[in-house]
Symmetry: C2
Subunit: 355 residues, 2 copies
């Protein structure tokens, strides 16, 4: 499968990608083992793409923006993969972003690969499949991977945690930027694009000014308290300052300036070592996130825990069992079946209390 | 020990409280078992106090505010316990809040009990000890328990998660409210007090107006999008709206109005059932938080994990091992020693891929 993936672009490679991603999404243990082997074999061929996260509320025009951008990039010799994390699928098993026909021209282009969101699972599980699909696309030679999500819940954090640059699309009105600040999404953004700017140019310009000043106050990059203590004037210039731009994807305006900004960001981050540092941090965070999820799943599936948990929850809720005692009892029950409870080896005597 | 705690106030009860809290803070397994028994025995006597969380940046005047408030409450027949979560102790083992002499009059008053922060441990561990100490104080008849923290890191979330009402102290300048909004602390606040208002009355009044409008925009309570969809005009009146007040603890002004607001909040929350619902939610969240912490600790202490983890971390960081594969390998290693790896029972065949 690795060879087929590494082949020149064409129907055979496309089938190999689809097959690999299907394998990654399988829940069968033997498939999972194969998938792990495949990922490890692919790894040396991955990491050479630029990973671009794009988010925004429903109606902001993500599909049109990504289609216009994708076709622009293909024109310039790139190969573009678009992956999607649809947080609604993690709740309902349905999908509001999974429809390929949203990007009619891009989806049929031979130099583009569009994969809808895994159709169900926890957000963590969906994010994991998307990260793995990203590696498959990279191994197949896609040099721009776009990961799209709708601005709901924690999915922006997940996308920002797996991409090199996180872009937030906003509408040219002042309402949704406050929500983005409130939810901490603005802090994640390396770049904000006010899309559909043509609808109301005055509002777009006002929004641009408002968001720029909000990002200076709230943003992690632009926080004056940071930059000013840590960096001198010279290094500050080489450091990316988050920007706010305008575009109208429908009319195709602003895409060129957008891509110039992305390229500038990429070059600065690569030169300063921040790109590599961000990926290393993301990989380790991803490992720990999956370990935590695995530990919780094993806990909840343990027979003793399943037996004792409902009563413990009821007692804690009713206030008849201390929460910390309930936690210790359940942890002992899980450990007890497998091995003797973890004895504390500290045997210093209890100190005498203060008067 | 339960009997001594339940005794009338006096030196014997005070010693029993100190002894109980020391027992709760011990790391010895046999002490922990005794502590769990003690907590369970105390539980029927707990929950009758009002739990007030107070936070603010260093220099905002927390100690003076709490001392003035504590003496005011004692004058009105209450018994007041003050517990502290010092986030600096969880990093350095040192303490910036642990000094009893900060509240000279309150600390020697027989109707007050002041306990500094546990001196080391993770924030979760320190929070657990503080929650348990709170139960001990309640069982001993303290009817107002104040939990104080300095506005650093995640400690505000911990305190807001164990109290009935969370109060944020602010200085009368416009700088720190932006930080509080950014960190999401403003959203936690049921009440904001602009302390040291006497220093600059004009600035205090401006800050009050600014924070009030910021809370309307960002606050969970005051969010118009919420209240307006869910509640009619009649119920909205019975619902607490977060407030911004002024005080000067040093001059003793504003404390009376503050306590009236707290009492009004408490009565409204009790009447609407929100007080009980908040405590139930806190207890269950606490249980799961302790379970998660216990699972992570057991994982990190497992011999196979300890052996394999350093290499896995290095490989993931270097990009030679996929993060999700590393997570699965480590989870299998932990499970393997105790029992055979958790086989997936789903045996549906791998679906044929889309073309």
């Amino acid at each position: 499968m690795v060879d087929a993936l590494a082949e020149a672009e064409g129907p055979r490679q496309r089938r190999a990608i689809a097959k690999a991603i299907t394998l990654l999404e399988s829940t069968r243990a033997d498939h999972r083992a194969q998938a792990d082997e495949l990922l490890t074999a692919l790894l040396p061929r991955t990491g050479r793409s630029f990973r671009l996260g794009i988010s925004g509320v429903p109606g902001v025009g993500k599909s049109t923006f990504i289609e216009t951008l994708g076709l622009y990039l293909i024109d310039r010799g790139h190969r573009v993969a678009v992956l999607t994390i649809d947080p609604s699928s993690t709740v309902s098993g349905g999908s509001i972003l999974g429809d390929k026909t949203r990007m009619e021209k891009l989806s049929v282009h031979e130099r583009a690969y569009i994969r809808p969101s895994p159709s169900s699972g926890t957000l963590g599980g969906v994010a994991e499949k998307t990260r793995e699909a990203m590696l498959v696309c990279e191994a197949a030679g896609y040099d721009i991977v776009i990961v799209e999500t709708v601005g709901v819940g924690q999915s922006e954090t997940a996308v920002s945690g797996m991409t090199d640059m996180f872009v937030l699309l906003q509408l040219p009105n002042a309402g949704d930027d406050l929500q983005a600040i409130k939810k901490g999404v603005m802090e994640l953004a390396d770049l904000v694009v006010i899309n559909k700017a043509d609808i109301d140019p005055d509002a777009a310009t006002r929004a641009q000014a408002q968001i720029t000043s909000a990002m200076r106050l709230f943003g992690h990059h632009g926080n004056p308290a940071h930059s000013h203590v840590v960096h001198g004037a010279e290094t500050a210039q080489r450091q990316w300052q988050p920007r706010v731009m305008q575009s109208s994807a429908l009319q195709g305006t602003g895409i060129d300036a957008f891509w110039q900004a992305v390229t500038q960001f990429r070059n600065m981050q690569a030169a300063s070592g921040k790109l590599a540092a961000r990926r290393e941090k993301q990989a380790l965070a991803w490992m720990w996130e999956r370990i935590d999820a695995g530990l919780k799943q094993a806990f909840r599936q343990h027979p003793s825990v399943r037996e004792l948990l409902p009563r413990a929850v009821a007692q804690v809720a009713a206030g008849t069992l201390p929460a910390s005692t309930a936690a210790r009892n359940l942890l002992s029950a899980q450990a007890g079946q497998a091995r003797p409870p973890h004895e504390n080896t500290d045997t210093t005597p209890l100190p005498e209390q203060a008067p």
